[in-house]
Symmetry: C4
């Protein structure tokens, strides 16, 4: 895929995410893998409500800008995931009330486990609700190298449940998830936002 | 009704349901009875946000595809209901936060009973809020034959309250409801989603 | 105002209310006073999502149809309020989750009292948050003559707080409110729906 | 900036805020600094849903109208903030359920403290979630001179946390926030509304 096609896809995805309220202020960043060596990613600090194709920039697999524009401050987390799994074609990172609140409510816990929901079948490889999907919760830090190192370590050593790594939370910050292409990543995003909302509602109502 | 007319109705209904957030990811499936022997139903795994008439396929009363396209994995639950009641002309199945959460909050209970709401008059045959409508909650399973059998058994033996079968929940999965045509099925859907949301709010606030 | 102008206003109001989710299924009804002897009101049982000017009919001050079309089943509650206060020019009746849930949570109580909110200034005649507005809660019944009688009795004998009658709830059913014209009635509706939502949130969080 | 350009910006902002439900009925008011001596501000009592450029009026730094139209009743709070900080270029005041409810839930407390959220980086000058932002909560009064005096006193003597004054609540009334221009003010608004919603959710779920 070339940069201009990826930029159009990212702009459309951004507007869909903005409409859901999952990228308030200038938060949220989205990327698509162009080929083995290049990623298209949203630029740093741009408003997602008015995102245009010019706000999508090209980086290499270490996250260094290949052309004009400053890539998102969180580019390192995107390229780390692309490097860990060659089947990932697109990554979305959002800040919803649900993913922010759940991370903070689970203070002290290192993951959220999802099971028993039919919608878990939206996660690639999952064919039954009788499954167990684990989203790790990393502590937030402005040191992105440390976050990337935590992600690499978890990728290898964490028990991710029945379908391997499919997403993670950063506490009080947001959700990362991905797919083979941007449509699949948005599918996973919709499913996880729905399920995290269900988890909050269920925990609250059982108090 | 012919397939192309039914497909247009289903696409319009799907977009309305998508806008409410009741069919996240690729979830949700919708059908219309064409005549005594044929049903139009959404295809398997298609995104409801981008549903087009080509994503609606034709099946017989046993759920077997009559033309191109693979019908929804849950086709058996649709044809079972059409077989049980000749007055059903359209069926909708949705995954909302409300219907998912309520099924899980009521773990161990086999039905949810709705009464005292004016909006129950949206259910065909109901003319007063002083009524009792029962939605059974079936345990979720990937064995659709077992779910269809449970539905058939409940249809006959369950106390459905004052208006006969009007819908059911699958726990942690979603809601099925229906009507004489797609507009009536959407009416019932709006009413039940509203009432299930009220039930959660009331139970939570009374904690 | 003539019927066709009133019908256009009512259709626009209906679409705005529908978009908020305050008139699920075929619920909700809206009216405008045309002159001393005639009211324009939505027809019985029509879907508010697809309301058109033909769905607005004319009735006299006793609620009897003056032309074609069957007026809303709740017409009697509209004409009763118009008869009680000559300054009322438009009435809206909605079914929101908030107004339904609050009525049921307050089971056994006969009114909800609102005070201390800046938004109370949206109620005509109110110029400070330090006020007390009372919305009576009538028990629901399908006997509209009984409801109309309860409204007439309350209008005269109830302590409505600092601004006189501005709206009421029917338990588990919905909200009635009004204004000098339809824009004012919608203003009052927005204010009361907001305030009833705040009341639920505050009561729940204080549990 | 001239008045007509500011009016267009304010109308666009108003429609975006209206769509979020943060300015019910005729509530909400918005302003832009035109130069050292003039402010553009929404007129008193106009509906934000139908705001047009003619509803934006010009005032001097004491809040006195410079042309036609009656400025918002809360103009004094706008000009007071502009007078206290020359870097403020735009101010927005909204009435959301979240900001209304949080002010009332915190009855007796004089501020809300936000920390640990990544989204706090939307506040100008903040570069880490490990920060502490204080929003004072002023008691509501219809005496705007008293509110303006409270704001001036707090501006100087309050501990606003790590980034200086960025917004405040009036209890049971609403939120004021600002930025170097209207886009920045809307950014801050989105961030604070999100964070206040998170605070309510977290407090409620921890009950």
């Amino acid at each position: 895929m070339d940069l201009s096609e990826a930029a159009l896809q990212i702009v459309a995805a951004s507007h869909a995410i903005e409409a859901r309220g999952w990228a308030p202020a200038t938060s949220g960043n989205y990327s698509v893998r162009l080929d083995e060596t290049r990623i298209a990613i949203t630029a740093s600090g741009c408003s997602k409500a008015t995102l245009s194709p010019e706000d999508v920039v090209e980086v290499d697999m270490l996250g260094r800008a290949l052309g004009e524009g400053r890539p998102s401050a969180e580019t390192l987390l995107h390229v780390t995931a692309y490097g860990l799994d060659a089947s990932i074609g697109a990554i979305v990172h959002t800040h919803s009330v649900a993913n922010t609140v759940l991370g903070r409510l689970l203070e002290g816990e290192r993951y959220v486990e999802l099971s028993g929901y039919e919608l878990l079948k939206a996660v690639p490889g999952v064919t039954t609700h009788s499954t167990r999907i684990v989203l790790p919760i990393f502590e937030n830090t402005q040191n992105l190298s440390a976050l990337a190192a935590a992600l690499r370590a978890a990728w290898i050593s964490l028990d991710w449940g029945d379908a391997g790594p499919s997403g993670y939370l950063i506490r009080g910050h947001g959700l990362y998830t991905w797919g083979a292409d941007l449509a699949s990543a948005l599918n996973a995003l919709e499913a996880f936002e729905f399920l995290l909302t269900c988890e909050i509602e269920i925990r609250r109502s059982r108090v």
